[in-house]
């Protein structure tokens, strides 16, 4: 079977890998290059820490397990690190953290309370804030180096015969026998199946192909898809795991800069003008980071980048054919880093065998059928720990 995968981000690369390993003839198309969109600007924390929807919780939990499995079999430099995660609460956030830990424990999610002395060797190079009143440890969580994950998935896909070609897809059309994909340079490719995995451009590309994949695409100030990330150029900063503090979240860089985020500042970020060094936002982030450093006299250099999330309209994954007998499979999700290995395998299985996968059933694009976009509930902006 010939399959065209549109989008070489982490999801597209993962689907392409699973398909090519299953022996399918795969052409992966991307407008720019592998991992050039949202996959390059992400906090990349593998978790199912704050997913109230039970189906979505289970999908993310399985996603974490799939990373363990993939890390054992995928060649290349290590891309996945099961570092665990630590969350520090102060008096204000403690009730919220307690409630979440209890909820997660009831679900069987690995979570435990630790003392400062127990947390110190896990977190390594930062100071636990003095006003910390509770520390939760989530040993099954971890993080990904997104560039390597995309590269390793892609190299393995190519090893099994997949081809990535640079080209901008204008539209996809389903025919009775074949689907065809038209590129900006007027090239037309045909295939038995097309997987539309164009990240935050999926909604637009689907619309041009007559398919409804409702996503949040507003990029104006205050939009929930805006996520500011800081890349800390400070080699002395060595952190041992993903850390959430009341004012700053941190993720190890694994050879690249440590990544930080401050969710409460996102509403003030204008994505068309990322905060410059010395701006109010940049200063706030630097101050919050400095407060965590063993030597507060040091001021690390932070490179700020605005990430735009791929976010389906109801916040949950979209995976499936928009209609019976359709040849174009739609795949869009927030949390692509946690979910990519699992979604790659499940989506490829559905395409190859035609058998519906249990975990994906709650996430079909048909759930939006007949709904006007204005009727969809607004997705709240992530502000609290783990909502990002």
């Amino acid at each position: 079977m010939k399959v065209i995968v549109v989008g070489a981000g982490v999801l597209g690369a993962s689907v392409a890998r699973s398909l090519s390993r299953a022996g399918e003839d795969v052409l992966l198309l991307d407008r720019k290059g592998p991992g050039a969109g949202t996959s390059s600007t992400t906090f990349a924390w593998t978790n199912s820490n704050r997913k109230p929807d039970p189906d979505y919780y289970r999908l993310n939990l399985e996603g974490m397990a799939e990373h363990e499995k993939l890390a054992r079999e995928l060649p290349g430099e290590p891309a996945y690190f099961r570092s665990g995660g630590l969350q520090f609460a102060d008096t204000d956030s403690e009730p919220w953290l307690v409630q979440n830990v209890e909820r997660l424990r009831a679900l069987g999610y690995p979570a435990r309370w630790v003392t400062r002395a127990e947390a110190a060797p896990i977190v390594r190079g930062i100071r636990i804030p003095d006003d910390t009143t509770a520390i939760a440890h989530f040993p099954a969580e971890g993080y990904v180096r997104p560039d390597r994950l995309v590269q390793n998935l892609l190299a393995d896909a190519v090893r099994h015969g997949a081809v990535l070609s640079i080209g901008e897809v204008l539209s996809i059309s389903d025919g009775p026998d074949r689907a065809s994909v038209t590129l900006a340079d007027a090239t037309v490719h045909t295939a038995d199946r097309v997987v539309l995995a164009a990240g935050r451009w999926t909604d637009d590309l689907a619309a041009r192909s007559g398919i409804d994949v409702p996503m949040i695409t507003d990029t104006g100030r205050g939009s929930p898809i805006i996520g500011l990330l800081g890349y800390v150029r400070f080699p002395a900063l060595d952190i041992g795991c993903v850390v959430h503090t009341p004012r700053l979240n941190l993720r190890p860089g694994a050879g690249l800069p440590v990544v930080v985020q401050a969710l409460d500042l996102n509403p003030d970020v204008d994505p068309s003008r990322p905060p410059a060094p010395g701006s109010e936002i940049a200063t706030a982030i630097t101050r919050r980071l400095t407060a965590l450093l063993p030597d507060p006299a040091q001021t690390p250099d932070i490179d700020l980048r605005v990430g735009l999330r791929a976010l389906p309209a109801d916040g949950n994954t979209i995976a499936g054919y928009p209609a019976e007998h359709a040849r174009t499979y739609c795949l869009a999700s927030h949390g692509g880093i946690t979910l990519a290995p699992l979604l790659g395998r499940l989506v490829a299985t559905e395409i190859v065998t035609g058998e519906s996968q249990e975990l994906l059933k709650p996430f079909r694009p048909s759930r939006f059928a007949g709904m006007r976009r204005s009727d969809l509930p607004a997705v709240p902006r992530p502000v609290m720990l783990g909502e990002q």
Partner: protein, 233 residues
Amino acid sequence: MPTLHEKIRRELEDRIHAGTLAPGAKLPTELELCEQYEVSRATAQRVLNDLADAGLAVRRRRQGTFVADVRQQINLLSYASPDTHVKGVPGRHEVLSARIVRAADAVLELPGAEDDTAVVELVRRKLDLHDQPRTIERHVVLFSAAPELLNEDLAELVSLSYLRDRGVSIDRIRVYLDPVVLDEHDAELLRSEAGTPTLRRRRELRAPDGTAIEIVTALIRPGAAEFFVEFPA
């Protein structure tokens, strides 16, 4: 539809590029063009002026219009030096294809690479200032050495400096000059004729452990360049 003067100009351009109108040859006069193509004097004049503006012809008062010598002068000694392509020659690159494929399926063989190793493959056409094709460049780079190469502006990319800036360790650069004969595909891209002999510059980059990091070829449009070496007398 090209206009009449464009059509005539294109015909003359093709003859100049094919070499049937050699550098220094006299082009038809305005009157001759008027008769031959049954066009107005203004149209004929426009054709010759356009050719002159494009640098393909030289108009000399009272003598006529002559084919300009547009051949690039290439010093083989500097051409074989690794940094030639870092400076580059004026003109733009047109990206013909950019892919990541198995080494076995790439347009060039990357020496020593296993068949199923992923490589980045980039094919570009270099155009001169008059938008005439000058060379076809083919790059095959080890994907693991430059996984984000395709995210670059591929029309501007200079691979050697890109790799150096990325900290890719390059120990050895070897340049070959291969005499080749154009196949139909390349002849069409270079607006030349299949079967015409030309030169191909081939450059290999190797890591300290001997692994080939990149192979690049530049196929030169026949007649577009003269090669020389020069020594102090």
